[in-house]
């Protein structure tokens, strides 16, 4: 039986198609770079949404996976020859390391309740930050290092930014559909149930720990891949990838876009990256724009107070309410006709 494709899927495909065409209309370097950042952080924020939005896990150390991904690809291409084989090896290393660290971090920390878990993840991420700073022979400490990415064949080399753009876009789209499938599967429904009431899920006969560890690993692997894309796009790795502000960015993107929606974090990434760019440009007008993060703090507070479900979440609630009202009206009419 052919499954009917959801209406939303067509919308997402149409948007993806427009994003494919976008660089052919606006091909300035800075714009492509900005869009690459949006896709990269969109993937990272989606991985955070898996934890926060679908399972109710608040992590303050999600940057450790992002950093692991960035350092894995950076170190591989720095120490080995810059070939496609080694690029692939670096990506594989990043995914495996991200998965292993997420697995052990999950087993160690997921037994803890909310804020204890958040604190312990922050401590773990700090540990990686210290490691990156102190292991200078490999990471070059806080100076960081640049690395080369393999040369593209023929004329593609002249359009390297466009290729990276397409690679990041395709990755984001594939990851989005993959994660959407996961969250709509029975496993995804159990995760939502865990978010709402862990005790209830346990008394239905489910051991919650394996589910939390599974989603932690998936999230860690996806975040690590986002780190890989970030490092490839700037061809530089520094200790900032392990910083708390990377995690806070993901948190902000997820909350502004819409927790538990997957597409929301991508929109949140877009808003934050573009706002970052344009607000920084306004620093000539007033010094406050240099400290754009202050403005974001205010936006964050307002979003939590007035749009706790985020942009997409609020939109979905409104649409669901309208649909519900329509159904009720339809039901009432049919009841009247029947009587």
């Amino acid at each position: 039986m052919i499954k009917t494709i959801q209406k939303s899927t067509w919308i997402y495909i149409a948007v993806a198609f427009m994003l494919v065409l976008l660089p052919f209309f606006k091909d300035e370097r800075w714009f492509l770079f900005l869009m690459i950042q949006v896709f990269t952080f969109g993937i990272f924020a989606m991985s955070y949404d898996l934890l926060l939005g679908y399972t109710g896990i608040v992590s303050f150390g999600h940057a450790m996976f992002f950093g692991l991904g960035a350092y894995s690809i950076g170190i591989t291409l720095n120490f080995l020859e810059s070939t496609f084989m080694n690029l692939f090896l670096g990506i594989l290393l990043a995914l495996v390391l991200g998965g292993i660290v997420a697995f052990f971090a999950g087993i160690l920390t997921l037994r803890l309740k909310s804020h204890y878990y958040a604190m312990l993840t922050l401590a773990l991420a700090s540990l990686f930050l210290v490691l990156a700073e102190k292991w200078r022979s490999v990471t070059r400490g806080s100076d960081g290092f640049t690395f080369r990415i393999p040369e593209l064949p023929g004329p593609l080399q002249d359009h390297r930014n466009l290729v990276v753009y397409m690679f990041c876009l395709v990755s984001m789209v594939l990851i989005f559909f993959g994660l959407r499938r996961l969250t709509e599967s029975p496993l995804g429904k159990i995760l939502v149930a865990i978010r709402e009431n862990e005790g209830r899920v346990e008394s239905l006969g489910f051991r919650i720990m394996p589910y939390k560890v599974i989603i932690s690993v998936v999230s860690g692997v996806v975040a690590s891949f986002a780190g890989v894309l970030y490092a490839i796009s700037i061809r530089f790795v520094g200790t900032n990838v392990f910083g708390i502000d990377v995690t806070l960015d993901a948190l902000l993107m997820t909350i502004i876009g819409g927790v538990g929606t997957l597409v929301g974090p991508i929109i949140g990434a877009g808003i934050i990256e573009f706002a970052h760019h344009y607000l920084s440009d306004l620093s000539d007008v007033h010094w406050i724009f240099e400290r754009w993060i202050i403005l974001f703090g205010i936006v964050y507070i307002l979003a939590v107070i007035f749009f706790p479900a985020g942009i997409v979440g609020t939109l979905w609630h409104k649409l669901a309410k309208r649909k519900h009202k329509k159904q009720e009206m339809k039901q009432k009419t049919s009841d009247k006709l029947a009587s």
Binding site: P186, A193, E196, S203, I208, A320
Partner: protein, 236 residues
């Protein structure tokens, strides 16, 4: 008594520094509806939660089908065949009715599908609102969903906590009818403040007062015992 499905012996439960249950004892025989009665704060909900492993017993033993389940985690106890319908219904608001039912299914075999069909015939509203989010259901529908969900698995015992709480009398009647049909197929421990519901459904009763079992017997005897009802249940 050899024909015992569930047995609580000398159960003591603490919640933080508070000693809630004091040597609670009771037995449940297969095929019966055993009602736990008592005023608010008597320890009825804590007793169910202790059986389910959601509150740990400080000492004493809970035996189910002859096996000590006192120290087992809730998921293990549920797999042994105990279904639990909590006081707050425990509906997942972010999931639809259908998803709530499916999350409740531990297996997807023919027997489970058969039970699912039976329970949907018992609660036709659930079929009607299959795609509606749990959070948008009325109080009665939530209660029906919660009871239905506990039945889809092969459970030998259902623990149902105050199913009439906050419901309109018409809905209470519907819930009573559904539990009456369910008791033909499974054993039930019912916590209920509504004496009308308790006396209609119950075969045996236990009265809890201040965390202790103070009285038990056949429900038919309690119906006639005005003094006992006045003393422990506040029924004039």
């Amino acid at each position: 008594m050899t024909n015992t499905l569930l047995k609580l012996e000398q159960i003591n439960t603490h919640i933080e520094q508070f000693h809630i249950l004091h040597n609670v004892e009771f037995e449940v025989s297969p095929g019966e509806v055993t009602v736990l009665l008592g005023r608010n704060g008597a320890g009825k909900t804590t007793t169910l939660r202790t059986i389910m492993g959601l509150n740990n017993a400080s000492n004493g033993t809970v035996t189910f089908k002859g096996e000590d389940i006192t120290k087992l985690p809730p998921y293990h106890i549920a797999k042994k065949g105990i279904g639990y319908v909590p006081e707050d219904q425990g509906i997942f608001y972010g999931l639809t009715v259908g998803e709530n039912m499916r999350v409740g299914m531990r297996k997807e075999d023919d027997a489970t599908k058969e039970r699912m069909e039976w329970v949907l015939e018992l609660f036709p509203d659930l079929k009607k609102f299959w795609k509606k989010p749990g959070g948008q259901l009325s109080g009665g529908q939530k209660q029906m969903l919660s009871i239905a969900r506990s039945y889809v698995n092969e459970n030998d015992l259902l623990l149902i906590d105050e199913p009439s709480k906050g419901l309109a009398p018409v809905i209470v009647e519907k819930v009573i009818e559904s539990i009456e049909k369910m008791k033909e197929k499974t054993t039930v421990v019912l916590v209920e403040q509504n004496f009308y519901m308790a006396s209609r459904l119950g075969d045996r009763f236990y009265i809890l007062d201040d965390g202790m079992t103070v009285h038990h017997g056949d429900m038919s005897a309690l119906r006639e015992d005005e003094e006992l009802k006045r003393k422990y249940l506040g029924i004039a």
